[in-house]
Symmetry: C2
DNA sequence: GGTGAAATTTCCACTTT
DNA sequence: AAAGTGGAAATTTCACC
């Protein structure tokens, strides 16, 4: 499952992370190689799953998604069945952009983006009616200070 | 600053979010249009900033970034000067992928990805030596249950 | 890893509704 | 105004060095 990556691979990934719309030639030039090896490496990196997908980063506010919440969840249920249902609920809800199981007091954190506070409440009500949770705390984002930071692959 | 988007724009954005590497023709076909209008719309959406950039989503673990933390920060300082220094510190630290200013008890949340716990501690020490913070809680992710969820633009 | 060329795609001028 | 057509230019993809 582990992939060995050399400096060239890292440079390629770093460039793609910054801007995946540039041409192969262009990328090859900036990293000091020629297009075919770059193309072959990108192909391998895709196949190996190092590059999971190519996407566009959208401006949520411009699209009417004005509210971003981080939701901290504690539960008393830890059986496999409960976990499965919880996972399915998260996967099925498009307002959940990201979800992690945590170590420590808090069991889960979700990142939820919705048009407004009312939509969040709707989401919240739907979620707690689907799966039993012990405690939910919602942190409302007032301002996105940094976003879309990529992994730092420079060295 | 608000952009008016019709159904076709939303379909295009939805497709690009799912996979931005597909060809124009391909995308045009799936949404039932022809390539030129799609091209013109994408161009406009880019210029308007609705599409912020095209990127690749990488597998952090495959690249040796094994630890993901959500960092909750409380501070007693709220002057503009402090905020500026804090913001600069965040921007300069590549391990911070995302940062939000929050409403309520907790003032900030950061998403931090590092190779391991030791690297997190290094980051933490560096941060608190740069800016004064009142309280820091780190939530360690054990498992990413969902990631890369896009905005839901279907309707 | 590089070269070059076929196949595909992007991009734009022009036509149509 | 907004969508389609066609084609030149650029880019991707691949066989071969």
């Amino acid at each position: 499952m582990t992939v060995r990556l050399d400096t060239v691979d890292r440079k390629i990934l770093s460039e793609l992370q910054k801007d995946a719309s540039r041409s192969l030639d262009d990328i090859a030039k900036t990293i000091g190689a020629s297009k075919t090896p770059v193309w072959n490496r990108i192909k391998k990196l895709r196949e190996a799953g190092v590059i999971k997908r190519t996407t566009v980063e959208l401006d949520a506010e411009a699209l009417g998604f004005e509210a971003c919440f981080f939701v901290l969840i504690r539960t008393s249920e830890h059986e496999a069945d409960w976990q499965d249902r919880f996972l399915t609920a998260l996967q099925n809800r498009p307002e959940v952009l990201e979800a992690h199981r945590l170590a420590g007091e808090i069991d889960y954190i979700l990142k939820v983006i919705v048009p407004n506070a009312r939509a969040y409440d709707k989401f919240y009500q739907a979620l707690i009616s689907e799966v039993r949770v012990f405690n939910v705390t919602a942190l409302l984002s007032m301002e996105e200070l940094k976003s879309g930071g990529g992994l730092s692959l420079d060295p």
